[in-house]
Symmetry: C2
Amino acid sequence: MFKINENYLKLPGSYLFSTIAKKVNAYQEANPEKDLIRLGIGDVTQPLAPSIIEALHGAVDEMAAAETFHGYAPDLGYEFLRNAIVDGDYRSRGAQIEADEIFVSDGAKCDSGNIQEIFAQDNKIAVCDPVYPVYVDTNVMAGRTGTYDPKSETWSDVIYMPCTAENNFAPEFPKEVPDIIYLCFPNNPTGSTITKDQLQGWVDYANKNGAVIIYDAAYEAYISEDDVAHTIYECEGARTCAIELKSFSKNAGFTGVRLGYAVVPKDLTCGDVKLHDLWARRHGTKYNGAPYIVQKAGAAVYSEAGKAQLKEQVGYYMNNARVIYEGLKDAGYTVSGGVNAPYIWLKTPDGMSSWDFFDHLLEHANVVGTPGSGFGPSGEGYFRLTAFGNYENTVKAIERIKNI
Amino acid sequence: MFKINENYLKLPGSYLFSTIAKKVNAYQEANPEKDLIRLGIGDVTQPLAPSIIEALHGAVDEMAAAETFHGYAPDLGYEFLRNAIVDGDYRSRGAQIEADEIFVSDGAKCDSGNIQEIFAQDNKIAVCDPVYPVYVDTNVMAGRTGTYDPKSETWSDVIYMPCTAENNFAPEFPKEVPDIIYLCFPNNPTGSTITKDQLQGWVDYANKNGAVIIYDAAYEAYISEDDVAHTIYECEGARTCAIELKSFSKNAGFTGVRLGYAVVPKDLTCGDVKLHDLWARRHGTKYNGAPYIVQKAGAAVYSEAGKAQLKEQVGYYMNNARVIYEGLKDAGYTVSGGVNAPYIWLKTPDGMSSWDFFDHLLEHANVVGTPGSGFGPSGEGYFRLTAFGNYENTVKAIERIKNI
């Protein structure tokens, strides 16, 4: 008689954004006349940039003729894309990463969920609290997190690094040394980040303690301050301790196009085993490449025209961020984030719980946000709004919140 | 100090098709003047059908305007595609499958590699021998297969079901009852299949013994005989014991487009847990949906024009299959497959090993095939050729093999 993976049953509730979607759908069904504004899930709203559309059409045309048709992609991704990534995201920043250390994938969510597979089951993970729920949830599924305490909403074998107003949303080195450290900067959900010097401190800490850093840099394109690193490989020694995950979702609006990549440097080893080889084996065995047309669209992101158009798109969203940040501040809210990230993190008023504030905003302003507690226990009493709406709706949403 | 997943180190060699690619590249570099014909990896060569190209272009245009832009896809896939799948692949065959039992993915390779995650680690798997290597390899990575014996090339905790000329390439019920049974019909690599009555026997066996069947039907479009089931859900009782995996790679040439789906019926339970809920949780947590433009292309597969064009495309490849089958038979080879599948399975001549025959064919005919032993120990002494080349090359390859 077959048996199931019991670890799945330990997961409390459903995936955060599925829960939100269900709540919102129920509200909308009960109130079909209400015009909801969604500043919850981090999904973009602006259309793909013209140079990306052009690349997509061109690639589709290639697929229409036998001479230019593309079947299975190379395991690691097409060289044209890996070279563009290396030039655009690493060499130009003085970071030493080679094309064969880039693994093209269908997005950072998959990579950040799958990466734990190449590690032993008894490794101990550390996560910022609050943070993107996929890191912990996928380790729960793998049986790496011990038992769940519903009261504290924490797992016995996970090291939580609180990021709250008290420490300026920057994690401190944990008392117990972890094996795997998930870092996400600019951070989802708090919208805060750390300086390059602080990041160097984490690289030194990992190298000293034999820990590996999973560095999620999905929001890198939103960095506006000079002393913030765009890649962890700007830090000395990162090649021996860090895997970096990147997404095309937020810098280029690919949430519905699906493209990302992982960087696994060949200097990152455990004994004489290169993590690069393990990830290559996983990639080759369980994955079959991103679509050719999507990889061509990815390359267009690095073209001169693409870069200019996307700089404008990021600017558009960052203007929304400013509208939200300043609007809420004017209305008396305590807010952070929004400077190096498209997320605004606010303290719920009057000691409201995150989910109570979610319901409050949904009912009284018809605005959908994300409860901070969904990202970890230290997110309780906070709330996330995203700058990924369109400008008009963003302005309207903030007016509505002000008028509650 | 972090530790790696030691199970990865148990895997012998690299993934079969990576090994072949390396060998072929080395040969081509050493002999740049040679015109290689690739009938190895099961990659298609015909361009996408016009109705699919049209759907892709249309969807790309939608992504260019804010009003019609699509961000994150629904967890299970777009309803327009799931409904088309249900109508086209199930209801039309009298099989009772609902749209919310369909999980759209980026391909059957990923699904067949990932599906084992929802099962307990001490489940015992059974596989046809030979078979697509992903089933065993992904279970090795999960630590489910025991120890490897290099001499027999088998794992201590895997139940092998030999499929050879002696049993007409149809597996027999194993002596030891497995928990998870991987079946792939029409079979990759042997190109053989079993009748609907035989498949009903497997469904009854699984229900009687509390086993679950992972049914890989990636080659369903190539079935030409009437007494072969197009889906396992044509069999009575399959809803309580079978997960079906489907691909768009072979019926529609999507190897470089990436689309597939898994069917997990809600009647398939372990105690009071629905496997459907576990897979939904995995899908929602570790995956972020197939690209909108690709799902639109998938829907075009089920349009009237799409169906007609793809019937022609499958016919083109099946004509190649006939050329290979008859050509090799004329040349004195013992061949099978090629009737309900795009694969021709041949006995290597003069007791040659599969890899020796691979080298022999590469050097003397400049034809790339796939060694049968790469698919399992009972594949030793066999060799796979695919009908996915273009017609001219296929004819040329067979002439070359005849003239060795």
